[in-house]
Amino acid sequence: MPRIVGSGSRGLLLSLLVVVLLFGFTPIERVLMWSVHGSFAQSPYSSLAFASPSDATAGYSVGQSVPVKLTNRTGHSETYHWSATEGDSLISLGERTLVGGQTALVAVPSHGAVPGTMRIALTGSDIFLTVPILKS
């Protein structure tokens, strides 16, 4: 290594070593972040999407299942309760448990629906999809 000129260079190298060990090999950054309630972690979210968006907007016939993708990016396991409604009428409901990072395909039944717009939503959230229901 290039020589560091001046008094105390030996002590300085020791300090350098301590800093490297502290920041490189200990969880000090987590302690510092925790102390200020700071984080650069990704913000958690969940999502609903149609497996095939173009098919979805073309519509599904009454009785057909509507395939939707449910994604969990909350960082922990989560049980989702979903429901399909048409106006005030409940068409179907169900639940699915996903671990953090998992995506699952859910087939939403449309038995009992009438031609119109069906809304598929996750209970207790603003997450929803809408799909046209056609005559069978």
């Binding site: 001046g6 008094s7 300085l12 969940s46």
Partner: protein, 789 residues
């Protein structure tokens, strides 16, 4: 009939060769032991940190690859700036050049040699292992160790101060982490105050000519802390251009190879946005996001450092009889012209191609003005950096070519004595002090060929098309305002519809969309502690900012017509040429309404500031010296008042650009000091927003149309898809078959933003969510974002 060579005959030939090679290695090792040890320690640290799952795993590798290749080039050419700060800046810039060249060559040749993905981790590891061997061999042959070459003479004091300054960076990172996570701005504000205080204290502490304050380290630490507070804001990347830059880097890393873009995209044509991040990603496991959030600010913070290194050494090109300018004054000039510029503090960190190119340009100017270097090696370095800038940022390379084209004749005129300086005086001085003229015809030709060759011939990118068309159609248009005009939604709507009918006549609006009326929305701003003084503060900052142009002009005239005549040892033809062309180009870009649409005037101002920092320092140093020589009581008072006014102006500038002024007097604070305002809405991206952009990219194809407003556009640039993007969601302008993306700001804050006339006019209006709910289906939703079809 083939004859087999007996093995026994080969071994006696190979053995002595191996033995002699081993002896050479053993003999040469001490020559390059520091670099060899550096590489070994870096490798061991990386492996050790990886085993401990440390987030700092890439750090030793990044530091090594950004220093050692450049240090090798410097030692091979025997080029070494006078001070350590300058050496580090130059080493980093040359390293960036080396990485881009190696990655670019590998990408172009690899597929022809059966290597389809040369930028993938394995090929890159092999390539850089061989380069590391080459680095050691070059050092051994030249008897110069690269690491020693740049770090020789580093003092204990420098390292201690570097550690202490690291605290500024740590506090800044913690402040922005706190702001991102909890919305609390206290630590972020404290960090900004600390950075400003350190810089102002440096000016005061370094005022004496004999001061030994470690200003370079303080300047770098404070600048980096300020930049990080912006670059780390939000869950993704902060700013506009950087989103698209990230998209290009992602595409290259994903493909494992860089190819000349067939769509003439200027971003994808730049090795700085494609090859450089990909090589670092493959080689040292640096996440692409970390490249833009951490590495680019660390490189950009070298820019003020390079300017400081240049201007504090400027008169050292003279033989004797004159001191260097006060370090504090040099620091004041850098803080005033560079750190306090809007472009540096908040724009360049999100325009990374220009950030890297301008840092290279500053290193180039430093080499040009450093007379401790020999002429030929300095010319080679300047030439290398000029070429490197051409594949780092198209606009900077075009501007540099134009500046050389202007600087060369101006310098030639000056050296002939045709600008009022007697030729014999210049010649006598040149003979005495081994003076040199770096900018010559060859360099001008290289700059022009590099800029136009890379951008128009090799990559054929279309960066010049729009500005050239605009200038051809409208001229430079000096009478037009360069500011964006905000108008009410009612006034804006008919203007936009008229424009869309011309620009996007294919749009088939939803029936009844014309009946939806827009309502203006007010963008959130910071109220401030003393809002009643907001107007006065704005006028004051405007006055000080614009006064800088006057100081630049006076400094140049003073330099040419006074210093140039009386003290020719202080001025060189290169200095005169660069300063005149810098002011000329800066002035055109600053006042042209047409060009302002393509090249932000603030970004042009920093270009000019880099080229004129030396004349300004020489001028102000003379002014200060004259003031201090006034012996009368009245003169002393005048000196005190003028010094106070100067310091106050500096404080006003840095307080304003750091955002602290807005917090105190009210207005729109920068995103780094605000939980929520228009800057945060405009420039930050949340995780659900990025996830939505990725979903659109992965699920739609070139036949699809996606429409979003200005807020929504930001994240779509980060994960660009093959779909056609239209930045408009005003109901009559929405195509009935389009996908419509609504961002968090659109949905939760009920604000949308649109622009017309190429960004000259903007309007904020209340989101028309009900219109989309009635006429479209929701096909993707995260709660915070939504996609309609």
């Amino acid at each position: 009939m083939s004859v087999q060579r007996p093995v026994v005959l080969v071994i006696p030939n190979v053995l002595p060769m191996l033995t002699s090679s081993w002896r050479w290695v053993k003999r040469s090792w001490p020559e390059v032991a520091p670099t060899g040890l550096w590489l070994a320690v870096s490798l061991v640290l990386s492996v050790g940190m990886a085993l401990c799952h440390s987030p700092l795993v890439p750090l030793p590798g990044v530091v090594t690859i950004l220093l050692i290749p450049g240090a090798t080039v410097m030692s091979a050419l025997r080029v070494r700036p006078a001070n350590s700060a300058g050496r580090i800046v130059l080493a980093v810039c040359l390293s960036m050049m080396a990485i881009m060249v190696v990655g670019g060559v590998a990408s172009l040749l690899g597929p022809h040699l059966g290597l389809a993905h040369p930028l993938d981790p394995l090929p890159e590891s092999v390539i850089w292992f061989l380069i590391a061997i080459g680095v050691l061999a070059i050092g051994a042959i030249g008897h110069r160790d690269p690491a020693t070459w740049i770090f020789e003479g580093v003092r204990t004091r420098n390292v201690v101060v570097a550690f202490a300054t690291g605290l500024l960076v740590v506090i800044s990172i913690l402040g922005v982490a706190q702001l991102n996570n909890s919305g609390n701005i206290h630590l972020a504000v404290f960090s900004a105050i600390l950075d400003v205080a350190v810089m102002l204290a440096g000016v005061v502490g370094g005022w004496s000519r004999t001061s030994r304050w470690p200003l370079s380290t303080l300047l770098y630490g404070a600048s980096l802390a300020l930049l990080l507070s912006t670059s780390l804001r939000g869950a993704h990347l902060y700013g506009w251009d950087v989103q698209q830059e990230y998209g290009n880097a992602w595409n290259t890393a994903h493909a494992g190879v860089w190819v000349i873009p067939s769509n003439h995209d200027p971003y994808a044509s730049m090795l700085s946005l494609t090859v450089l991040p990909t090589v670092l990603h493959s080689l040292v496991k640096l996440r692409l996001l970390a490249f833009f959030q951490l590495v680019v600010p660390a490189i950009l913070a070298l820019l003020p450092l390079a300017v400081f290194s240049t201007i504090r050494s400027v008169p050292r090109w003279i033989t004797s009889g004159r001191n260097a300018p006060r370090s504090g004054l040099a620091l004041a000039v850098v803080v005033c012209l560079i750190v306090s510029s809007v472009a540096f503090s908040s724009e360049l960190v999100s325009i990374t191609r220009q950030a890297m190119a301008l840092t290279m340009l500053t290193a180039l100017v430093m080499v040009l003005f450093d007379r401790t270097m020999l002429k030929r090696p300095a010319q080679v370095i300047v030439m290398l950096l000029t070429i490197a800038i051409s594949f780092t940022h198209y606009t900077t390379s075009y501007l540099l070519a134009v500046i050389y084209l202007c600087a060369w004749p101006v310098g030639w005129f000056w050296s002939k004595g045709w600008l009022g300086t007697r030729k014999e005086r210049i010649e006598r001085h040149r003979y005495d002090v081994r003076s040199r003229r770096i900018i010559n015809v060859a360099l001008v030709v290289v700059a022009v060929v590099a800029a136009f060759g890379w951008n128009l011939v090799i990559t054929r990118n279309d960066a010049l098309v729009a500005p050239v068309s605009a200038v051809t159609a409208k001229g430079t248009d000096f009478s037009t305002s360069t500011n964006t005009l905000s108008i009410s939604a009612r006034q804006f709507e008919p203007l936009l519809i008229k424009e869309l009918r011309v620009s996007d006549p294919w749009i088939v609006p939803v029936s009844g969309s014309n009946s939806v009326r827009l309502h203006s929305a007010s963008v959130p701003a910071t109220r401030g502690v003393v809002p009643s003084l907001s107007g006065t503060w704005q006028e004051l900052t405007y006055l000080v900012t614009e006064s800088i142009w006057i100081v630049l002009g006076i400094s140049l005239l003073y330099g040419i017509f006074r210093l140039g005549r009386r003290r020719t040892y202080e001025y060189s033809s290169d200095l005169v040429g660069l300063a005149v062309s810098g002011l000329l180009i800066g002035g055109i870009l600053r006042f042209s309404g047409t060009l302002a649409n393509f090249y932000n005037p603030e970004r042009a101002a920093i270009f000019t500031a880099i080229l004129l920092a030396a004349p300004v320092t020489l001028f102000l140093d003379d002014v200060v010296s004259t003031l201090y020589k006034l012996n009368t009581p009245r003169g002393g008072r005048v000196a005190q008042i003028l010094s106070g006014v100067g310091f106050a102006s500096l404080a006003i500038l840095i307080v304003e650009t750091s955002g602290l002024g807005t917090l105190f007097f009210g207005g729109v604070a920068p995103g780094s000091l605000s939980t929520r305002n228009v800057n945060v809405d405009d420039f930050t991206v949340s995780t659900p927003e990025y996830a939505t952009a990725v979903w659109l990219r992965d699920n739609l194809n070139s036949s699809n149309i996606v429409q979003s407003d200005l807020f929504g556009q930001l994240v779509l640039l980060s994960a660009p898809g093959s779909y056609h993007l239209v930045i408009e969601i005003v109901p009559p302008g929405v195509d009935s078959g389009a996908y419509v993306y609504l961002s968090t700001v659109n949905l939760r804050n009920d604000i949308s933003q649109a622009e017309a006339e190429n960004g000259a006019i903007q309007s904020a209006y209340r989101s028309t969510i009900q219109f989309f709910n009635r006429n479209f289906y929701v096909v993707y939703s995260t709660g915070a974002t939504r996609v309609y079809k």
